[in-house]
Symmetry: C2
Subunit: 194 residues, 2 copies
DNA sequence: ACCTGAACACCGTTCAAGT
DNA sequence: ACCTGAACACCGTTCAAGT
């Protein structure tokens, strides 16, 4: 039987769904193809390799979690929300952290510029902002990749997001909270149009 | 043919050697067994699973890089040196970062205590020290896992260690260098006794 | 006890052959 | 053009059988 045209986007979305269900580790190209109602060869026509597909999935998660800063939005709060947004989205896709972070080209020039500008707007010198940017990026990467929630629950700590935010605050202003917590960060996840 | 008794330690060492050569990705239990002159089944008698073996390798790297702080040693400089030590050792074993970091139990209570004490000795309040500790841990994890050197060389930056140290300094004291650079960090790698 | 090596149940990837 | 599905060259893991 022949199939309606298969697309890269469909493959990425289907892969992310399986990953959300069972984790990256248990994703196979065969299962993925089956879930799309396609053959193994068909999938490979649109995606060169499994590794490449996972990189695409990583970028997709990154894109879904990114939200530009509104003009009237507190710059540090925006950074904090962005990090927490990405953190939650990745936690829903076990094992994806490495693919979101692994290849540096995921951090787009736009994002770099937006963070840099936010930090300067918040009062840091351009040089401090550059260092803070890289520290924030690596701190966030570390949090995403470590089995953070395990550590936390082992210590009986209540809220991983609060601790994540505390780390960001520490980096940004030496421990003073960025803002009185205005409820939790708005969670915005863009989904591909069907 | 029969073999002189195989040990877990030999297996871990042989695995790390292969990893240093070709990276984790290309390590197979068959190749590993062959390099030990043993059979596949023999290896599996001493190690329950490949994943478990890699966790052991991660811990071994961690142990090799750890060096307790001398009484007369500057505490912040010690932290900095420890991080750089681990960073270099991991870079020599491509793909191992995830296994060094992945499971939180690698960060032993001893290390946690040593870092905490060093930070307090350096003048931080116990509460700040706790936050700084977790920020440092995640920052370091992020650096280890990201393909940092790629980013750096792309930007034409000269010395990845200098940048790593700058990040640590930023966390520890807001950008002021921890110490006038006294040459590079002493590199101490313990190797298992043969 | 410890080891061997064949066997099992999978992988990712390719490619002739179909429509 | 796009898809099928068999085939290839591997995996990690197990386990009867040997010593």
């Amino acid at each position: 039987m022949t199939r309606a045209t298969l697309t890269r986007g469909q493959i990425v979305d289907a892969a992310l769904e399986i990953i959300a269900d069972v984790g990256v580790e248990k994703l196979s190209m065969r299962q993925l193809s089956a879930s799309l109602g396609a053959s193994l060869g068909a999938t490979y026509r649109h995606v060169p390799t499994k590794e490449a597909l996972l990189a695409l999935c990583g970028r997709e998660l990154f894109d879904r979690s990114y939200r530009p800063r509104a003009d009237d939005e507190d710059p540090l709060q925006w950074i904090r929300d962005e990090i927490i947004n990405l953190y939650e989205l990745i936690r829903e896709h076990p094992g994806m952290a490495g693919y979101v972070i692994g290849h540096a080209n995921l951090v787009t020039p736009e994002l770099t510029a937006a963070v840099q500008e936010s930090l300067v707007t918040a009062g840091l010198t351009p040089e401090s902002a550059e260092t803070a940017r890289s520290v924030l990026a690596f701190y966030t990467s570390g949090v995403l990749l470590s089995n953070w929630s395990v550590v936390l629950s082992a210590n009986g700590l209540p809220d991983s997001k609060a601790m994540l935010a505390a780390g960001v605050d520490f980096i940004l202003r030496g421990g003073e909270p960025v803002a009185a917590s205005q409820g939790r960060a708005k969670r915005i996840v863009k989904r591909r149009q069907k």
